[in-house]
Symmetry: C2
Subunit: 419 residues, 2 copies
Amino acid sequence: MEDTKHVLIIGGGFAGLSCAKKLANRPGVRVTLIDKENHHLFQPLLYQVATAALSAPDIARSLRQLMSRAANVTVLMDTITGIDTEKSQVSSPIRTYDYDYLVVAAGAQTSYFGKDEWAAHTLGLKSLDDAFKVRRCVFGALERAELTDDPEERKRLMTIAIVGGGPTGVELAGAYSDLARRALKTNFRRLDINSLRVILIQSGDRILKPFDPDQSKYTQERLEHLGVEIVLGHRVTGVERHTLTFDEREPIHAETLIWAAGVGASPLTRMLGVDTDRGGRVKTNPDLTAPGMSNVYLAGDVTAHTDAKGQQVPGLAPAATQMGEYIGDRIVDLTSAPGEHPSAPFIFKDKGIMAIIGKNAAVVKMGSMKLRGYLAWMTWLFIHLLFLIGFRSKLSVLLQWAWAYVKDKPGARVFTAKQ
Amino acid sequence: MEDTKHVLIIGGGFAGLSCAKKLANRPGVRVTLIDKENHHLFQPLLYQVATAALSAPDIARSLRQLMSRAANVTVLMDTITGIDTEKSQVSSPIRTYDYDYLVVAAGAQTSYFGKDEWAAHTLGLKSLDDAFKVRRCVFGALERAELTDDPEERKRLMTIAIVGGGPTGVELAGAYSDLARRALKTNFRRLDINSLRVILIQSGDRILKPFDPDQSKYTQERLEHLGVEIVLGHRVTGVERHTLTFDEREPIHAETLIWAAGVGASPLTRMLGVDTDRGGRVKTNPDLTAPGMSNVYLAGDVTAHTDAKGQQVPGLAPAATQMGEYIGDRIVDLTSAPGEHPSAPFIFKDKGIMAIIGKNAAVVKMGSMKLRGYLAWMTWLFIHLLFLIGFRSKLSVLLQWAWAYVKDKPGARVFTAKQ
């Protein structure tokens, strides 16, 4: 086994996991997959954990279990804090790891554009822990609103402000609005659940920027129909406890402040000693290696990649998966036979984008095809159910989810009181 | 509505919930159901959340949702900290509540027999939060055991000590042993999962004291067959970080220390101004009122009740449910028609006790009937599935659970890294 190459993958998201799967049980390769959590997370549905429509096991799965049949893959839960490409080593506070090939797939984190102090007063939505915190905040606020006799306090408790009009912000806003109008409508005796305010704030002139303007407009109308207040063209300039401030607008007071306005790459990219963009993303070579390195690959949200066809690869799950698979195949090629291996560059296969807008509506953009409304929603539902296959028994998720949507009783809406 | 009576129920466990259900939509009565959590918890399966076989929504359900069709029931999430029976008031740090009838069903909490400082180093198992902490501790320890090169540290990380040989201790021990031998057996590459030690400590001379001695013996043999180490006849005399000490025995070092040795009544019973036993439980009148009071009832784990047939009512879910139902019926009688209402005393209908011992075995005692082994396990499974009906869609739970048992892939085994 002397010529077995060690592939070290940092991150068990879509990119890292798909790479590890390509390398599973391949001769000549052993893989160490390191993540700071013990689970792979189906990020596109994370907002549904925040709104208590889905529970953790529906969208998260043990990385060990996913790799249990891959005898050449070792899964470790560790937090990588250093990369030394000269020595071909990465390190955590506990251990140092050598590698022959390094795959940096450490993903994105919430970014406050340099205002890191805002993190103390807002909730991000990147991890299961984040989602549980959001859930706890929103549902806990409703409980306290039911208890209080102070109308000002109740108003604040009954307000959810979401900064960022991208898909996450839109999906959250729609889901909270649905929750009040449907699932919770018979739950409270003292407070009027219809007075729940959901405010979506977008600094630009339209929400869902990656979509076409008419789709943005449709989404805005649809959200407003659901009761969501949309604030366009105002950039948040200050964040205090329960308060967002603006330069040319009244402050917004809300118990729950969700920050869905920006993501940046994992800080690990800064340790590679290569140029990064403002968000910490690396402009990778056509074969997804880091500039000037032949054995260090990057995949997913840590990259700002323009592929050989000139497509800017988006920070979405399908792109991350394709990048991870490409790198896995590439390493198989490089290690399975000696000699030269000219690389075909990575080409992104764009399968479109979609966002759900509460129950029964969505927008979908696939190439020149655009869908909206119920048909788009069915498309969204179908594709996300397909994704969920393999997470739990397909049938069970399908039944539970279908049941919840039919009965307007999504999930258990349970939260725990303590941190 | 001037003669509408206000029934205040403290606690949304089996006792409080069954009482509220009896009073739901009854004329002449309005109910306030107060719990410090927002959910009712199916406690008998809580250990399965700790072992990651079930997830929160499987065994917990929003009290609001459970009461959503009961227009006369207001659910509040608040922590009652004072009872004034003279003024017929209870209070929390936020509010004061008046009542005509008070039902104290505040349940039990982990008791350290006066050694409250032991709580800092051990994990209890009474709430969902407790169960998540246990899960995080056990699975986190395995992750660190996979990382470490220190054999002493690994040994400690791979040891789970459970204090208390009652049903909870037995069920946990069996479940962790199963987990290592079945679900996790292909999950680790570096550590030997079979070296996971599960130690069950019981100060008395046998485990499962409420069962017959031959059932205790069977359970012990069965657990030992599963690899569980059982320590009998030694009382824990000291608890330090990761260590249990004894008077006449070597200390036990374990990363995970679970305290399942004792429960005491909620401290609220001490505020009633009546005598309580050592565990804080109240010896209630034949109609479950508190001594000397006609409008204060107690139900469930806050009572030490001997019924009119001389039966000591056990601290189990069926007993709590029956008490709650009895009190609900009693209040309906008292409020629905004027005049005298002689009370038939509460009589406990004993339906038996059972404990599961890992996969495929259990012990059941129903009156003079005793079962053990596979048939007892099937009985346990059937009865607990019946209980779970109504929590989620019956079919969905059945499928998921059956699937998990068949495939040895229980749950998602996901935990979150932060507190």
